[in-house]
Amino acid sequence: MHAIDVHDLVKRFGGRTVVDHVSMTVDTGEIVGFLGPNGSGKTTTIRLMCGLLTADGGHGQVLGHDLIADQLRIKREVGYMTQRFSFYEDLTIAENLAFVARLYRLRPVRAHVERTLEELGLATRRNQLAGTLSGGWKQRLALAACIMHKPKLLLLDEPTAGVDPKARRDFWDEIHRLAADGLTVLVSTHYMDEAERCHRICYISYGRMLATGTVDEVVRAAGLSTFVVEGPELERLAREMAGLPGVEQVAPFGTTLHVVGSDAKALAATLAEIGRRPGVAVSRGETSLEDVFIQFMGSATDNMS
């Protein structure tokens, strides 16, 4: 059975179509990364799937429940972590967790709170007000609260924004541990390294699903060629190359330039030319996920105009 199986979801706000015929299937136990630029409809799509928004079109099932008719049942079986910290800042960690436990009618409340505090390493801060926690601890509390009722599907909306690398690492270890136990996870992110930690990724832009698959599949399907350029006066070189045939992206990476294009032949020809300049070295590079996304963002904007 698919944990998420939705087709042609449409959501409009006023006259603006924010989600435009998005279809998505996620298998049970899968960790799916949800990527796309700001304002591309990631949050809206996630909210549609956890019953916080009602779709204007489309159909499908989440955890076997009808997306439109069974919103309440979906709410009970889904854990949703909001982009912005949305627990009570004037309550302590333990009080917040007890509140959530009671809302989900978990009994006995105390045992559930204790177990959750232990499992997520929150026990030492149990009596601290949530408002005084740092970003990493807030995120840990939010995760604890939304997995406490043992949901079958976890929807995470940019859970690691503003969190330090160590906390992010711990967070992802936790996500993988949960997925190993059969939990399905859909997580939106802007971080490429996090996308690479997912079993599969979906890329959405301007409300439309542009690509889906494993990281390798998405990179390969994009059909981009990448070259690495080294040499003197890279700044000037970059500006010069930007308009040349076949060159679609030029981005500085430390002391090198990454040059990316979809027309492999034209790009190779241009760079062969560049490589002949004194002191300039050109070599083949590996196309990264980020290169692919930048490419997507450029072409999607073109489609809109």
């Binding site: 909210r47 916080l52 928004l53 009602t54 949703y80 949305s86 009570y88 989900y104």
Partner: protein, 377 residues
């Protein structure tokens, strides 16, 4: 230039303020609406010398002296004899319910005494729970009635008949010393409850929305009814404390008598507070921000204070203002608390007003539940 005043910087701040003012429609409406409302209410509705007050006449005799006195009283414009009753008990009940402000009793031997030249008596009982409301009517009474009687006697019997006086006995009921506190302090309980209850609950949902916790609350399985009750019921406890404090102080500091049944009053208070917290909650389903909720609350407060009969005599207002006053729970609560505390009214006397409050409870709860959205769309 860099120092402590620059017109350019001031202009930047002014422009920014005006832009923000224009964006916030509710604030803008309030700035125009409140002064206009105050003007209309103060200007047209409020009258400290109410006329045309409902009165009951207890008169067994139907002689021309009685008729003369009654029509003279009506001509003053203060008295409107809606009820003509046979017995004092009937009149008493009318006054306890608040249907009449005055009971004028003209004894059956009135005409006989006037004819014989003896001193005749008229008994006027005034509902003095609101001393200001009745004072104008009482002060004109003696001269008017006396003059009417003189005239009538002059017509009937030419000179020669012995001249007796007219004695007017005035009973200020429920508040014999005409203390304003007796009227104001019980009313204050209603006003204080309204102030805190509506204000506290009007930010119930807007605070969740502003702090971003609403999204989370909606994502969890809490039903609209549960959220509503969870938000308003804690304030019943706050209200209970306020009631105890105000009623205690009313007795200790102001010596306000409490002649009625305390349990009857407390049950009415409970219904009133429920209506208030649900009204506040309804406001919070409408307002987008806490600021707007406060403004809407204030927009509701002002006319309710002016038109409920708390600050100015209810019967002194023109009819349209009285009808408007009926839409405020405070109006009905004031009638209940004054009736129970000062007049010793029983359950039957306040049943109607309590039922009106209960109707407000249902209305507000229904409105709030209809307005509440389980989703973010």
């Amino acid at each position: 230039m860099t120092g402590f005043f620059s017109l350019g910087r001031l202009a930047a701040l002014l422009v920014k303020e005006f832009i923000q003012m224009r964006r916030d429609r509710v604030t803008f409406a309030m700035m125009l609406g409140v002064p206009l409302m105050q003007l209309v209410l103060f200007g047209y509705a409020i009258n400290n010398d109410p006329k045309n007050l409902p009165a009951a006449l207890v008169a067994t005799g139907n002689d021309h002296y009685t008729r003369a006195v009654v029509s003279a009283l009506e001509l003053t414009g203060y008295y409107r004899f809606d009820h003509v009753v046979e017995s004092a008990a009937e009149a008493e009940a009318l006054m306890a319910r608040g249907d009449v402000v005055f009971v004028v009793t003209i004894p059956s031997d009135f005409a006989r005494k006037v004819d014989r030249g003896e001193t005749a008596q008229i008994l006027i009982e005034a509902d003095a729970t609101d001393p200001a409301a009745a004072s104008g009517a009482i002060s004109t009474l003696a001269t008017v009635a006396d003059r009417a009687l003189q005239r009538e006697r002059g017509i009937v019997a030419a000179s020669g008949a012995p001249q007796g006086g007219l004695e007017i006995v005035i009973h200020r009921r429920y508040n014999p010393e005409s203390l304003t506190q007796h009227n104001i302090v019980p009313g204050l309980l209603g006003v204080i409850l309204q102030m805190t209850m509506v204000m506290m609950t009007s930010i119930a949902l807007t605070r969740e929305r502003e702090r971003g916790t609403m999204e989370n609350l909606l994502a969890m399985p809490a039903s609209p009814l549960e959220i509503m009750l969870g938000k308003v019921l804690p304030y019943l406890a706050v209200g209970a404390v306020q009631v105890a404090v105000v009623l205690g102080a009313a007795g200790l500091l102001f010596g306000i008598p409490f002649v009625g049944n305390a349990w009857l009053l407390l049950s009415a208070v409970l219904v009133f507070v429920l209506a208030l917290v649900l009204l506040g909650y309804t406001i919070s389903t409408v307002a987008d921000t806490q600021m707007q909720a406060m403004q809407l609350t204030f927009f509701f407060f002002l006319p309710s204070l002016l038109l409920s009969g708390f600050m100015f005599p209810f019967r002194g207002m023109p009819l349209w203002a009285q009808w408007l006053g009926e839409i405020f729970p405070l109006t009905h609560f004031l009638r209940i608390i004054r009736a129970v505390m000062l007049k010793g009214a029983g359950p039957a006397d306040v049943a109607f007003e309590t039922a009106v409050l209960a109707a407000f409870v249902l209305l507000y709860a229904a409105l709030a539940l209809l307005r509440f959205r389980r989703t973010l769309d």
